[in-house]
Symmetry: C2
Subunit: 324 residues, 2 copies
């Protein structure tokens, strides 16, 4: 089985690549080759199969990124929300032209590959009051969500035409992201755990009872792998899935952190930020996701396990990376 | 008021242009200039304002098609269903890249213009049993519908960003189209009236009780003009409207025709065609369209008036055009 990960240098792409290298198989079949593609060539790592690392522009996707014989493509390459909002042309180029380039690469293959695409709950709008079911319409309130929703449609059509066999996963907000705080409006959902666990103060711009739809990196990687090997026949024309994340209140995240490290939440300062609250306040805080579990996607682990997994998987690397 | 009609050489575009020339105003403001753009330059006609007719590729939209000071753009340019299905690259180029080119042209204007875009009920799937409400999700079953639905999203986002002020109209199947039969799966819905009225036999590939969501050219043009001048503030983020067409059975169309010309329907031969029935059988035969009338879109005229309007507006021109 030959695999390509587009966006293979990113946070989720790398976790996925490492897990596949560790397992050596996907859907019960041995992995025989892997190609990682990102804007800058991802760093190689030891793997039980030949690993190719390429850098480039996804809108001008080189043929080597999806070589002949590719069975599975994970398409995680994206310009994320804040960046797509700041630079319309860049978002369109990467999120839409990039997806067209993936479609065209699949058309050149002898057999249609499985394509697993990461879409987002940013394709929906709503607000703190709204819990969306699987039939909810996507009315995005940002360019990133618009481009992801449009890409879902193009991939569903490419599937209907026989160019590929696509599964589009609308990922929740991922916590706890390692690394540094960034300017994404959602950055604080990870920072309120990551920074106190590093012994650093951080700011909480929304009230403690603010609700958010989240998933852990472990669950996200598990869902990506399930999507790569699942039976897609039951999906019919609708290739997109709302995933079984968790609706949690910010205060519950802090309480779970304090269970893992007592008093950690004292480093979280309440500093209301109406701009950030306005953006994240437009996202739906919950879904009744029934179709994904019915198609074999695992239910989410408890919140306390999310905090513990961050400590086990990412805390030390983040500390070293940031020189703390 | 300066107006551009993209697809101004097509059937609806030309009817719209002629009606605007006749009225001389739009939304109570005098029309001061009009530009018609199509693949081949549309034929000019006498008008009470300067008229410019241009030909070209919408994906490489020349600046002259949307000159500075343009107030209203009707974006009707499209590769329609059968053609977009037959040629994926052509459909993507015209229906998606063309829409991106319109967005980019609007970004260059000093003030955001009103953009009226013709989308389609082909953005939905369903079947004879389904009556869709305004909250129904678009799950297209063809590339044309996919590209139109994606374009709606891009135009809504361009509106949110302040590039334009878009209204997207999901047009029903238009009957009665003048001209000749063509290879569109929906061609017969017009042919079963047009051909008998010309004294010619035609084939009906579905049963008489087959239901279809239709609108007349007169209603469609009226809706386009309303969309160009309406108050868009109540639309919020959702710039697309299902229009108040009519759900009619094929047998009702034939009965209405016989009321206008007794015995005309004897020229309609029942010849079952499972391929055509399969395609049109995937389209929703009815909508509960409440949002469009609430925003001032006129209810549809009775079916008998649709037949009479075809006779009054288009029958003689079609006869001459076809040398009958």
């Amino acid at each position: 089985m030959r695999i390509t990960i587009l966006g293979g240098g990113g946070f989720l792409g790398r976790k996925l690549a490492l897990r596949l290298a560790e397992e050596g198989t996907l859907g019960g079949r041995p992995i025989t080759a892997m190609t990682l593609f990102d804007l800058a060539a991802p760093a190689p790592f030891p793997a039980p199969f030949p690993l190719t690392c390429l850098g480039g522009d996804i809108a001008e996707l080189p043929e080597a990124a999806i070589p002949s014989g590719t069975d599975v493509i994970f398409h995680l390459a994206a310009v994320v929300s804040a960046a797509a909002e700041a630079d319309y042309d860049l978002g369109r180029r990467v999120n839409l032209r990039g997806t067209d380039a993936v479609i065209d690469a699949c058309r050149r293959l002898a057999a249609p590959p499985r394509v697993v695409f990461t879409s987002s709950i940013a394709t929906f709008s709503g607000g703190q009051g709204s819990i969306l079911d699987d039939g909810a319409r996507q009315i995005p309130a940002n360019s990133y969500g618009t481009q992801k929703a449009a890409a879902e449609m193009l991939l569903a059509d490419a599937t209907r035409r026989g160019f590929m066999d696509a599964v589009c996963l609308r990922l929740p907000t991922i916590i706890v992201r390692p690394g540094r705080p960034n300017k994404a409006a959602s950055s604080f959902f990870s920072a309120i755990v990551r920074e106190p666990m590093l012994g650093l103060e951080t700011e909480l711009p929304v009230p403690d009872d603010f609700a958010v739809w989240v998933a852990s990196p472990r669950s996200a990687v598990g869902w990506l792998i399930h999507a790569a090997a699942m039976d897609t026949a039951p999906l019919g024309l609708d290739r997109s899935l709302n995933l079984p994340g968790m609706s949690v209140k910010v205060g519950e995240i802090l309480a779970a952190m304090d269970q893992v490290r007592q008093g950690a939440s004292s480093l979280v300062k309440r500093v209301a930020d109406p701009v950030i609250a306005g953006i994240v306040g437009g996202w739906p805080p919950g879904f009744r996701a029934e179709r994904a579990p019915a198609n074999g996607f695992a239910r989410h682990e408890p919140l306390i396990d999310v905090i513990r997994a961050f400590v086990a998987d990412d805390l030390e690397a983040t500390r070293l990376d940031r020189g703390l």
